[in-house]
């Protein structure tokens, strides 16, 4: 992946000049900021930071980062939050910044907090874009995701949620042209899920990692711990002006941004491997593995045991 990196030296120089000409976090009208808490982290690159929470009627599924990139000819949205209501607020915020057509709605992976706002963009008739495995995986989980989110969000926030699958399935690398700037999409091997896709805005060298990167919010493992650690190792050797996590601050820097997550996953893997070697069971592991990380993360109690369970089931076959 590193050798296929789409960023040319010329792009980087252009981006550096563009950045030098504008402050990192540009002024955003107060009304908009109140409405959706959006910052322009690089010229034409906007990020809304989700809350470190699980779904609730109060947060309306606003619990992941959602981004949009404004080009000369149109807008690309990257992840749409966890409800049509929250997605609608995101759309209103985009409309407060630009009237350019919303051409693409990109989902970094299948999880509800990143795709359930897709319906808010139907009137824009965008191309919905995702990893080629996203459609299969989301479709097979749709009933379950809808039932659980209806229960957790409550009727008001659940209103309008639809499963909208990608109309453009990406396998490998693909470029979307927004006019004078392009987004490079790269599907990744099984890591956080089996349908993670990263996006690079070449104009500003901003790398959107989706849930391949968690910060503050404990990572959630729904793919392969070995695959995720291997991918993080590759990503840590990559260069980018900034990265945007799926959960965490609006912008972070490589390679430091990845270190906490690498430590968390490596701790689980090491602990679980040791317990397996000692003949311990899955139940034993869920009580001890990785608990040294407890104070380092938010939502640890909600997700950690599940992460250990998935890791154990994977690593016991080594």
């Amino acid at each position: 992946m590193c050798e296929r990196r789409p960023i040319s030296r010329r792009n980087l120089v252009e981006a550096a000049l563009a950045l030098a000409a504008s402050p990192l976090l540009r002024y955003v009208p107060a009304a908009l900021a109140d409405q959706a808490d959006i910052s322009e982290i690089a010229p034409g690159v906007f990020v809304h930071q989700g809350r470190y929470e699980i779904q609730s009627p109060e947060n309306r599924g606003d619990m992941a980062n959602a981004c949009f990139v404004v080009g000369r000819d149109g807008v690309a949205v990257i992840d749409t939050l966890g409800s049509a209501v929250a997605g609608r607020e995101l759309r209103d915020a985009i409309r407060a910044v630009t009237n350019k057509p919303i051409r693409y709605v990109i989902n970094t992976h299948m999880h509800p907090d990143h795709v359930f706002g897709n319906a808010a963009f139907k009137e824009d008739d965008p191309v919905y874009v995702g990893h080629h495995k996203l459609a299969r995986d989301l479709a097979s989980r749709a009933d379950r995701y809808l039932a659980i989110n209806k229960q957790m969000l409550g009727d008001a926030a659940f209103q309008g949620i639809e499963i909208i699958l990608p109309t453009l399935a990406v396998d490998g690398m693909q470029t979307l042209d927004l006019g004078a700037r392009s987004l490079v999409l790269e599907t990744q091997p099984t890591a956080h899920t089996d349908n993670d896709m990263t996006i690079t805005d070449t104009a500003t060298d901003t790398l959107f990692l989706g849930d391949l990167l968690f910060s503050v919010h404990v990572p959630t493992l729904d793919g392969s711990i070995k695959g995720w650690l291997a991918l993080l190792d590759k990503l840590s050797r990559r260069e980018a002006a900034r990265v945007v996590p799926g959960h965490g601050p609006k912008a972070m820097e490589l390679p430091g941004a990845l270190e906490s997550e690498q430590r968390y996953l490596a701790t689980i893997a090491n602990d679980v491997r040791r317990l397996i070697k000692e003949g311990k069971t899955l139940e034993d592991a869920t009580k001890v593995a990785g608990f040294s990380e407890r104070d380092a993360w938010k939502l640890f109690d909600q997700y950690h045991v599940r992460n250990v369970t998935a890791a154990f089931a994977e690593l016991e076959w080594e």
Binding site: R141, T193, R306, W317
Partner: protein, 278 residues
């Protein structure tokens, strides 16, 4: 086996097959509607007829987390405390609200052992919050039941594979290990059996062809110690992907195990235990 027992086994096999076919209809039920039905009275009648069941009498203990953090992989352990000295005839596990409530049905043989704590552990899928039941039949023909209620935590599809493309890699690979007791005087050994198998439920759509992906799961496992039966198990897709079992067996002259697994595609997988303690 009593008169009732001889008829129980084939009916379970039949019912399992039927339920697998009926699943497509089950999944169309709104989860809320399914949640409100108490299926146990019918299930109980279907499986055990009018036989009495002694609930929570201490002969069988069921251990399962009250909240399933990962609904696709919930550890479940059944223990028969040492105070129960009889031989065991059968063990049946249910998850009331699963598409097929029968998880597994074990018929124990002469090598199942006695004279210490006996146990059976596996990992199950729990489709939604549900009662989970272990019904143990002791040698005297009495049925004993332990029940726990489990809430499945949100966000995880219990029936979905994390990485469906990786699931058929090494299909049928097995690991069988035996462990001598901590006290060498104990007549009860333990074993671990792992099977690489997707244990698919047959309820998922192939998005490219709009076909239902056919069910394929482990339906039978036979464990023998030196030619003598430890148990024979009938099972369903309520057992998690890559079925995993830990269980006790009685000490023999030779404590190596032979395991034969059959799946719904008719594939047969066999394995022998590695030298004990390895």
């Amino acid at each position: 086996m009593g008169k009732e027992d001889s008829s129980m086994f084939p009916s379970l096999v039949y019912r399992t097959g039927f339920a697998a076919i009926a699943c497509a209809a089950h999944i169309l039920l709104a989860p809320a509607a399914k949640a409100e039905q108490d299926v146990w009275p019918a299930l109980r009648q279907q499986t055990f007829g009018d036989r009495q069941i002694q609930a929570e009498d201490g002969a069988v203990i069921l251990e399962i987390p009250g909240t399933a953090e990962d609904a696709s992989l919930v550890p479940l352990t059944v223990r028969v405390p040492p105070a129960v000295t009889q031989k065991l005839k059968s063990l049946t596990l249910f998850i009331d609200k699963n598409p097929d409530p029968l998880v597994a049905s074990l018929s124990f043989g002469p090598a199942a052992g006695s004279g210490g704590e006996r146990s059976f552990s596996t990992r199950v899928r729990i489709d939604m919050f549900s009662h989970v039941r272990a019904v143990l039949e002791t040698e005297d023909g009495i049925l004993h039941m332990a029940t726990k209620f489990v809430a499945a935590a949100g966000g995880c599809g219990a029936m979905q594979a994390k990485d469906p493309d990786a699931e058929t890699v090494d299909l049928g690979k097995m690991i069988v290990k035996t462990f001598p007791p901590a006290l060498s005087t104990s007549p009860i050994w333990s074993s671990l059996v792992m099977i690489k198998h997707p244990n698919q439920n047959g309820m998922q759509l192939n998005i490219n062809t709009a076909d239902i992906i056919p069910a394929r799961f482990v339906k039978e496992m036979t464990v023998k110690r030196g030619g003598e039966l430890v148990f024979q198990m009938q099972s369903t897709f309520s057992i998690s992907t890559n079925p995993n079992f830990r269980f006790t067996f009685g000490r023999g002259a030779d404590n190596s195990l032979d395991v034969v697994v059959k799946d719904t595609d008719g594939a047969v997988f066999t394995a022998q235990s590695e030298p004990s303690g390895s």
